[in-house]
Symmetry: C2
Subunit: 352 residues, 2 copies
């Protein structure tokens, strides 16, 4: 049996990726100029499909960067001049906060330790950063919670980290001003592409602060946006990844987003049930409201290597706890993971 | 016949790329964690081969970024606090200068309009930026000239843009403090990876200025360097591109760098001869000392579309002049372009 990767990203490739790569090679996609009409068509069609698949309104714009790390940096450079607020519930939301501090922003950290965001804490700020799915600890934010944050904060730009959430965890795009993801999680693609979506309020904010600070060079929001309007990027981009994203969007649109979300819920229920019924496992996040449906984290009574190695012997590759976390395993539940593969994993987990 | 791309990058893929991609898919390279031992081995082996193939001394370090554009930005952020000097002979060296200006650096521009650098002009500065091969206009810098610049400038950090030069145009690595390239030119790979090499003087300089300015976040030189020491990157990188680079380095090492340089010279002589003997073509750069051997630029007496379209009908894809340059064509001469393919192109050009 071929290995199946349940690692939280890079992860299992979407099953069509191999064929799309072959098609790309056959049709010289990786040799065409990034200034050619052929490339512009790929960009335009990827942009169009993202809008359609993710229900992105017209007043939002899409740019391609190299990683979510880069997008954190560009958001701080381009959308914040004095202060930002960060709702931190794990290592990645913390890192975004750290990036703001490094950039001499007066950044405030609201820390939520395995509990829901508390809307009463949060106040208006230039930018408020929240996370749809915190990959490091498997914490999700419900769509209604995001709506209620939007309701409370009229003036703030709201930034939503969707790295391991899109398209499997639903939210209303119009509730946030900017959101972003990288393609090696739920889209099942090779790593090396970050997608940044920002609305016209972001453009306006950027225009007002650009004269007052350094907003970057080739990837200033102004430059990115100007080029995206003509379906180009300022630099030679990762053409291969943009092409693959466009093709996998075709495949996912055929399946339908509703079905992807439904199957994500079903598969996550299987995984959490398996964990709950296992003597050696227990849910790391107890509060079901915020239990991630895409990155399932479990405490382990035996050391995590016991599970990782035994499953590896069955060609099932799961992740270890984030960073130095011991006695913890992480299991990705992305669209590339079929119901059958999750059932198989649950069966094998139960045997351990 | 399949198309052959002589565009100046993205360009013809090295002939082994398709097989390496298949191998990557088969061996799950694009699913493995960027924190895994498997990935570290790929990084380490790529680092090792780059050192061996390009004769990089031990006191130089290698980091992977996303593009040469990014490396320009990181050099300015990390190695310059007040002033830099830029020897500008085309659109790309000009862009690097522009990046310095945007970053509020007191940058000086020395402009060379289709003539050699004049060493008498240049003075010591924090950083002096030169270009091995200016892709926009097809201007090369000879290895001896670089040595003489090094001889004159003891204190300056010298940065060499090798984007479309490495490994086809030779230079002595120890003559410069930092150099960089992207992989979609002479390495014949899909775009989306920039390689930054910097010596210990750069590290020292960076240490001394880091407390005084913002040097970036995830891709500060300090962060990049720290991670490169353990064969990792701060963010999830373009694993696919690092893997392909490592594999194509194997292939190129089998051919040998000397032979690649020799064949580059031979093929460029064929191309320049064809241009010189053609009634409708003439060399854009007359001075043979600086005529690029990897990006050949020709003036056209008829409009450039005549050549581009007629060759396209023969499945030979050449580039147009850079930016808005009219009546100009550009032809890449990279290792992926076999002698036979260049001979074919010359034959077809002669018929027009």
């Amino acid at each position: 049996m071929k290995k199946i990767f349940f690692t939280p990203g890079p992860s299992q490739l979407f099953h069509t990726v191999s064929d799309h790569l072959k098609e790309g090679i056959k049709n010289d996609i990786f040799s065409i100029s990034h200034r050619s009409i052929e490339f512009k068509k790929i960009y335009e069609s990827c942009d169009y499909k993202l809008r359609s698949f993710l229900d992105i309104p017209e007043n939002y714009n899409i740019s391609f960067l190299s990683s979510a790390n880069e997008i954190w940096e560009r958001i701080i450079q381009n959308l914040v001049i004095n202060s930002s607020s960060h709702l931190v519930n794990g290592a990645f939301s913390k890192k975004f906060y750290d990036f703001a501090i490094i950039n001499k922003i007066n950044a405030k950290e609201y820390y939520y330790d395995k509990v829901e965001y508390n809307i009463n804490d949060i106040e208006e700020d230039e930018l408020v950063a929240i996370t749809l799915n915190e990959t490091s600890r498997g914490i999700m934010c419900d769509s209604n919670k995001i709506s209620s944050i939007r309701k409370k904060l009229n003036d703030s730009l709201i930034a939503l980290d969707c790295v391991s959430g899109i398209p499997s965890i639903p939210f209303k795009v119009s509730d946030v001003d900017t959101f972003y993801f990288s393609v090696q999680k739920c889209f099942g693609l090779p790593s090396g592409l970050g997608v940044w979506i920002y609305n016209d309020r972001c453009i306006e904010k950027n225009k007002s602060i650009s004269p007052k600070k350094i907003t970057g060079t080739y990837h200033s929001l102004e430059n990115l946006h100007k080029k995206s309007k003509i379906f180009q990027t300022p630099e030679t981009p990762n053409v291969l990844a943009i092409f693959l994203l466009s093709r996998v969007l075709d495949d996912m649109m055929k399946i339908g987003r509703e079905r992807i979300i439904r199957e994500t819920n079903y598969k996550s229920a299987l995984l959490y049930n398996t964990i709950k019924n296992h003597n050696l496992l227990s849910e790391y996040i107890k509060d079901q409201e915020i239990q991630s449906k895409t990155v399932i984290v479990s405490n382990t009574k035996k050391e995590s290597e016991y599970f990782i190695e035994n499953l590896k012997n069955k060609n099932l590759i799961i992740g270890k706890g984030y960073g130095s976390a011991q006695n913890q395993i992480r299991i990705a539940n992305f669209p590339a993971h079929s119901k059958e593969s999750i059932e198989l994993l649950c069966d094998e987990l139960t045997k351990l």
